[in-house]
């Protein structure tokens, strides 16, 4: 039986196990979630159909809007800032440290920047929760401060953002350094002959050349920031008050603590919609670029 004569149909068989699993674990639960978002349901008993009530309630819910604003802050901390710092670091390691102090020095530094990324994000939260503790934490001791980093409503979100920058930074550095390896060195040589400064080379050669990597990093980190749950759960549980509430934690709260399953489902559905739209837009822009 040759590949050609037997046609393509037989290959379907190989998809069956996954499609069944997908149906059970992703498609059906997602549809159930959307269905539940049109009901009032405590998780037990029969859900009561209430149409779009959960969604109209969402629009008027201040906590929901605040949680999305916090998401914007986390996109800055998890996607924008790490990408910007990561670009400078990757370029500095690649064409400055690597050339003057050896590739070993560059890759040792890269490994140190990357280290936080190997931690489970919940464990990173445990580590920082201890370091930021108001009475016995290391951070206050080092700087001689007396701040309640995670307990002060004016400070909590900024603190979480700082922790997330620390956590995320290594990822863009590694990706950008890999991307720089495919840039043709003759671009840099030509620029050097023209007497271009390091900054000019960075701006006019490095950044345009690794555009695809920048896109991928921004997309994956933005999605991660929209989904963020673990660090919020471990560091602040959304508090103090609502200071660090995010949609994923807000829906979790409605599902498992307030028994507002219908409302939680509506939040989760909106979040899913936003993520799919963001992904689609990014891919669209990327397609147009290339």
């Amino acid at each position: 039986m040759s590949v050609r004569t037997s046609g393509r149909r037989g290959y379907w068989l190989y998809l069956i196990p996954s499609l069944l699993l997908f149906l059970a674990v992703i498609v059906v639960p997602f549809l159930m979630n959307v269905g539940a978002s049109f009901t009032r349901w405590s998780g037990v008993g029969t859900p009561r159909w209430i149409g779009l009530d959960n969604y109209t309630r969402l629009l008027a819910d201040e906590r929901f809007w605040e949680s999305f604003q916090h998401n914007v802050g986390l996109i800055v901390a998890m996607a924008v800032v790490p990408t910007m710092i990561g670009l400078v670091l990757a370029a500095a390691l690649f064409d400055y440290i690597g050339k003057r102090f050896g590739a070993r020095t560059a890759s040792a530094l890269r490994a140190m920047y990357y280290l936080p990324q190997v931690l489970p994000v919940a464990v990173a939260g445990v580590v920082w929760g201890w370091m930021l503790h108001p009475s016995y934490g290391a951070v206050n001791q080092i700087f001689g401060l007396d701040l309640d980093w995670l307990g002060d409503p004016d400070l909590a979100l900024a603190t979480v953002m700082g922790v997330m920058v620390w956590f995320q930074l290594g990822y863009p550095v590694v990706i950008f350094m890999a991307g720089l390896q495919r840039v043709d060195p003759s671009y840099y040589e030509a620029a050097e002959i023209d007497g271009a400064s390091w900054w000019a080379k960075f701006w006019h050669i490095t950044i345009p050349q690794i555009r695809p990597e920048i896109f991928v990093v921004l997309l994956t980190c933005t999605i991660a920031a929209l989904k963020v749950f673990g660090p919020i759960f471990v560091l602040t549980r959304g508090g103090p008050g609502n200071a660090t509430m995010v949609p994923s934690y807000f829906s979790y709260l409605n599902f498992f603590q307030k028994s507002n399953v219908g409302y939680g489902s509506a939040i989760a559905t909106v979040l899913a919609l936003i993520i799919v739209v963001v992904t689609f837009l990014f891919l669209r822009v990327q397609e147009r670029e290339s």
Binding site: V126, A178, G264, I267
Partner: protein, 273 residues
């Protein structure tokens, strides 16, 4: 830039690197201090000696051995199962090029980007219905589906460029499809398959949300869930917190050291595809 300038750049990058690994250093340093030493000297002093009782006490208190075993069992099962499914799917999509493959791939991609919150409650409800709630198997099944979605996407791109001549030659020699997959496609794709195995293992190990929802009893919890849930509790003092942080950090660093090469290669493979 020459003379002092180049050293200034190096110095700045080294200082940043020290800031990045500082939490690891300080966790290690304080996990071996006695409570008395911690309260008199604070977190910044170097430890006087090696006091391991705090770690031992914490280990026993949370039955850390059980948590390690659960994490290991779940991560290893998910990585193997998800790789098998990814290979089967990618064989059909990348080499078989079945009809509608673009749509199927898009479905897998969407499944991978969906927030877990949008699946969580129904999955929780269904798991209770079929008696899988609070079992490791429930997390294994769900995580396998999610990881396989990514694996399919990545491997389909790799197998889409598989040299067709080899498969045609095998078919002429009488090899069936399953045999070609097992004897030719899998061995040749080994490097990518290994990267996927390691990534699935580490991602599943690091997962928090779904295990938090499904695994509520002491006997089923994973390492991140056990530590994350303890974090908020009142009885945690300074030494116990640092012991718990250390026990969470050590396995992650061990994986990093063991898999470092594959990891750095894998991060970049995953990014570009």
């Amino acid at each position: 830039m020459r003379g002092p300038g180049r050293w200034a750049v190096l110095l700045a990058l080294v200082v940043l690197a020290v800031v990045m690994i500082f939490p690891f250093l300080i966790v290690g340093m304080n996990a071996v201090k006695s409570p008395a030493e911690y309260s008199s000297q604070g977190p910044l002093s170097l430890p006087d000696g090696l006091y391991l009782q705090g770690i031992v006490d914490f280990w026993n208190r949370v039955e850390f051995g059980t948590k390690l075993w659960n994490s290991l069992l779940i991560s290893a099962s998910v990585s193997v199962l998800a790789v098998v499914l990814s290979v089967l799917n990618a064989y059909a999509l990348g080499i078989g090029r079945v009809q509608g493959r673009v749509w199927i791939l898009a479905l897998f991609l969407v499944a991978n980007t969906l927030p877990q919150e949008a699946l969580a409650y129904p999955l929780y409800y269904l798991a209770k219905g079929v008696g899988l709630y609070d079992t490791q198997l429930s997390v294994i099944i769900v995580m396998t589906a999610i990881q396989a979605a990514f694996g399919t996407y990545l491997l389909s791109a790799v197998l889409g460029q598989f040299p067709k001549e080899i498969l045609e030659a095998a078919a002429i020699d009488g090899a069936g499809r399953l045999r070609s997959l097992w004897r030719i496609v899998v061995p040749i794709s080994r490097p990518t398959i290994n990267v996927l195995l390691i990534f699935f293992f580490i991602w599943t190990w690091n997962e928090f949300f779904l295990p938090l929802i499904f695994l509520i009893s002491n006997d089923t919890q994973t390492v991140p869930v056990a530590l994350g849930v303890l974090q908020g509790e009142k009885y945690m003092d300074a030494t116990m917190s640092s012991a718990s942080a250390l026990l969470g950090v050590v396995p992650a660093i061990a994986f990093f050291l063991i898999f470092q090469r594959t990891l750095t290669r894998g991060v970049t493979v995953g990014a570009i595809k």
